[in-house]
């Protein structure tokens, strides 16, 4: 048990690094503090993983502290929630133990890379401190034992992303991109928050009723909720039926979509490329965007009892995957190509989870972290050496920056799913999963959905090999483009701090896939699985042939268009001109959103103060004016003229005297004669 408590250190040490970064005098020492903290975290996470591997089938371990608890004794639905407790802590199971080292290592490598990439930057210290804070948040997210903890970390990660995308805040595009990222993900986050609130309303009374008095039970806790979702599926939770579970799952999905940049909340990710390239590697490839997938994996029991939502997950994933691949094919900005590639791969992960291939989805998360970070960091090397992000202005990297180019090649192979690379194993297990179409608890998709998914996955396999190699062939081979102010002879390989992480990631992109082979003793499938026991998703030969075959075809087509142009194929890009333009604009989704926001939000917003002034204020002013007008009228009585006063007084006296006389003589019934 004690070993697992190391996870506390894994999560908290980077936070300490972020805070202590402000102690040293020099910014470089601050960077070293952050790197050291991340390295310690990584080593500890490996220890935890090793220990967990030794106890493959132990129950998940939780260590919690209560940081907020009171007794509201509130009646909800038909029950009473007597105690409201919010806990923070760590959860160690196969899923978290395998992803924690990934996050830590990618963060470490990115920080090392940034030593060189961000050299001389004005905000050097702030950069590293925020990366350390982001690492802490992401680790906390992965290790979260309950929804509240996850939400805190979720927003923390979003905050880190916001601050880092806007690192060069003096660039208006960067500031705008940071704002857009935060805002779009926040819309998804509201879905997640609503899921938490909704879940509390539905499940907390039941959880409270099942808790023995004197004990504290956290209705946000994942293991508690997994049980509750099962109970609900069996109809044992009052007030919760299939529809509630479906809505809950959809809301969680909304949060995941926002964070993982899936359709329709994907528009922030390409813009986020305004941030420094290492940040793109860390946040927008390997970690933060993976949080959405992780969320679905963590709450998978909920999705399993709401199978229609799984269909939605799969379809959204498939759609995003195809969308991302198509758009990536049309861009010339290297970072945007890789960004859309991320959308595509995340879509694949969503598809995997949606068809019940839980292990495949998480495995792709694992491998994707390596090769996507590799792509970004290698691209960063080239961007810095060449001073441009446009692939048409690059060229000739192969002969000048051999190590980076090799690494990029290996990364592209992995991303494309070329045989035996890491990406191949994970991608093809997804293809296999789609073909098999079987949920862990026995359900499956309809034939129509399955067909659509197969088509999508095939398209992605093909295109997913086409665009990385298009990028590689145009940017890395051939001769450097001629540009004003650019001397190709000056291009050197990047400094060691920038090359070393790239090499490490390249190595991982090659070999990390082998742990996914089923049949061996300790494999990913035995370690990370849905429900209680490994699913033993079989390795489907048909899937392998399909996926790998399409990938190789894609590579070949790319070769034949951009390296040794074959007339028939070389005309293709030109023929697709209009489609390419539309794709480059993201199929105008952004523009559509801008129009929507303008019509639905900004215009009514402009109306509101006008209504305030025109109507509400006018009413208040009107009342004030009415009072004033009455006063002015009444003022006329005070004319200052003596005779007017005298007349009024006289008339008044006459009336009074008359009245009294009449009353005294009995002319008013009910008023007695006074004398």
């Amino acid at each position: 048990m004690q070993y697992y408590n190391l996870t506390w250190a894994v999560v908290l040490v980077p936070l300490g690094g972020a805070l202590f970064a402000y102690l040293p005098e020099s910014a470089r020492n601050a960077a070293r503090v952050c790197i050291a903290s991340t390295a310690i975290s990584f080593v500890l996470s490996l220890l935890v993983l090793a220990y967990r591997l030794g106890h493959l089938h132990a129950a998940p371990y939780e260590s919690l502290i209560t940081f907020w608890s009171f007794n509201p004794a509130q009646p909800i639905g038909g029950g009473v929630v007597n105690n409201f407790t919010a806990q923070a802590g760590i959860l160690v199971d196969g899923l978290s133990a395998s992803i924690l080292p990934v996050v830590a290592l990618v963060s470490l490598l990115v920080q090392v890379h940034s030593l060189g990439y961000m050299r001389g930057d004005a905000g050097y210290r702030r950069y590293f401190a925020i990366i350390a804070f982001f690492t802490f948040s992401m680790l906390a997210l992965v290790a979260s034992p309950n929804f509240l903890n996850l939400y805190f970390a979720w927003e923390g990660v979003g905050l880190g992303s916001f601050l880092l995308i806007g690192h060069w805040w003096h660039k208006p595009e960067a500031a705008a991109a940071a704002k857009k990222a935060f805002l779009v993900t926040r819309i998804g986050d509201l879905g997640l928050l609503l899921a938490i609130v909704f879940g509390f309303a539905k499940f907390a009374p039941h959880v409270a009723s099942l808790t023995p008095p004197g004990q504290v039970s956290d209705p946000f806790n994942f293991s508690v909720l997994s049980r509750e979702w099962q109970f609900a599926h069996q109809g044992l939770v009052p007030g919760v039926g299939g529809r509630t579970l479906a809505i809950l799952a959809l809301l969680v999905l909304m949060g995941a979509i926002g964070k993982s940049a899936q359709l329709p909340l994907h528009t922030w990710l390409p813009d986020a490329m305004e941030g420094p390239t290492p940040i793109s590697a860390l946040i927008h490839a390997a970690t933060m965007v993976a949080a959405g997938v992780y969320l679905i994996a963590r709450t998978y029991p909920l999705f399993l009892v709401a199978p229609h939502v799984l269909t939605v997950v799969a379809l959204i994933g498939a759609l995003s995957a195809v969308f991302g691949a198509v758009v990536a094919l049309a861009h010339t900005d290297i970072k945007r190509i890789i960004a859309y590639s991320t959308i595509s791969h995340l879509g694949l992960m969503f598809t995997a989870l949606g068809v019940g291939a839980f292990t495949a989805g998480v495995f792709h998360l694992f491998t994707h972290a390596w090769f996507k970070a590799l792509l970004f960091l290698a691209a960063g090397n080239v961007i810095q050496a060449y001073g441009t992000q446009d692939i048409r202005e690059m060229g000739g990297v192969w002969s000048r920056m051999r190590i980076t180019a090799w690494a990029m090649l290996l990364g592209c192979c992995s991303a494309a799913g070329v045989v035996f690379f890491a990406g191949f194993w994970s991608k093809d297990s997804i293809v296999a999963g789609v073909l098999r179409n079987q949920f862990p608890d026995g359900g499956h998709h309809s034939l129509a959905v399955k067909a659509a998914l197969i088509v999508a996955v095939c398209a992605v396999s093909l295109l997913g090999a086409l665009y990385p190699f298009r990028m590689f062939f145009i940017a890395f081979l051939g001769d450097p483009a001629r540009r004003r102010g650019f001397t190709p002879q000056r291009v050197r390989e990047s400094p060691p701090s920038m090359v070393m992480p790239v090499v490490v990631l390249a190595a991982l992109s090659c070999v990390a896939g082998f742990i996914g082979i089923s049949g061996a003793g300790v494999t990913f499938g035995n370690f990370v699985f849905a429900l209680d026991k490994p699913q033993n998703e079989p390795f489907d030969i048909a899937g392998v042939l399909l996926g790998a075959g399409l990938a190789l075809i894609g590579v070949a087509v790319a070769y034949l268009i951009w390296v040794r142009p074959v007339p028939a194929l070389a005309r293709l890009p030109a023929r697709m001109g209009r489609l390419a333009v539309a794709a480059r604009n993201g199929f105008h989704v952004d523009a559509a959103y801008a129009w929507l926001v303008d019509r639905l939000v900004l215009r009514p917003a402009a109306l509101v103060p006008r209504v305030d002034e025109g109507i509400t204020d006018a009413v208040a002013d009107g009342i004030a004016d009415g009072v004033r007008a009455t006063a002015l009228e009444a003022r006329r009585l005070q004319g200052g003229r003596l005779q007017a006063y005298a007349l009024t007084a006289f008339v008044g006296v006459v009336l009074m005297a008359g009245g009294f006389t009449l009353a005294a003589t009995g002319h008013f019934p009910g008023v007695g004669a006074t004398r």
Binding site: R641, L642, Q643, L647, F650
Partner: protein, 105 residues
């Protein structure tokens, strides 16, 4: 014909009404004072009449005493009023009642 209380009251009322009419319709402030004097005297007639014809059993002749008071106070009041009018004339160069309206609200 015996003069009774009614005759005296009619005279009193007539005097009073003439005074009121003068008060309300004359413009000159001195004329207003004269009208007010008329009103006082009208009241005096009424008071004397009540005393004369025995309308105050408990306090005989109290009406006479009251009338004497009224005369005295009327004199004092006229003195003060004329003094005020003098000051007002110095300020506004007029004693027309409708032009003395500084106290308007």
């Amino acid at each position: 014909m015996t003069i009774g209380i009614t005759h005296l009251l009619v005279v009193s009322a007539a005097l009073f009404c003439v005074g009121v009419f003068g008060l309300l319709s004359r413009r000159n402030a001195i004329a207003l004072l004269m009208s007010v004097e008329l009103m006082f005297n009208g009241v005096n007639v009424a008071l004397v009449g009540f005393a004369r014809f025995g309308y105050s059993n408990l306090r005989p002749l109290s009406g006479m005493a009251f009338a004497l008071f009224v005369i005295t106070i009327a004199a004092a009041e006229v003195a003060v009023a004329v003094a005020l009018l003098l000051v007002a004339y110095r300020r506004h160069q007029t004693v027309q009642a409708d032009e003395l309206d500084e106290l308007r609200g």
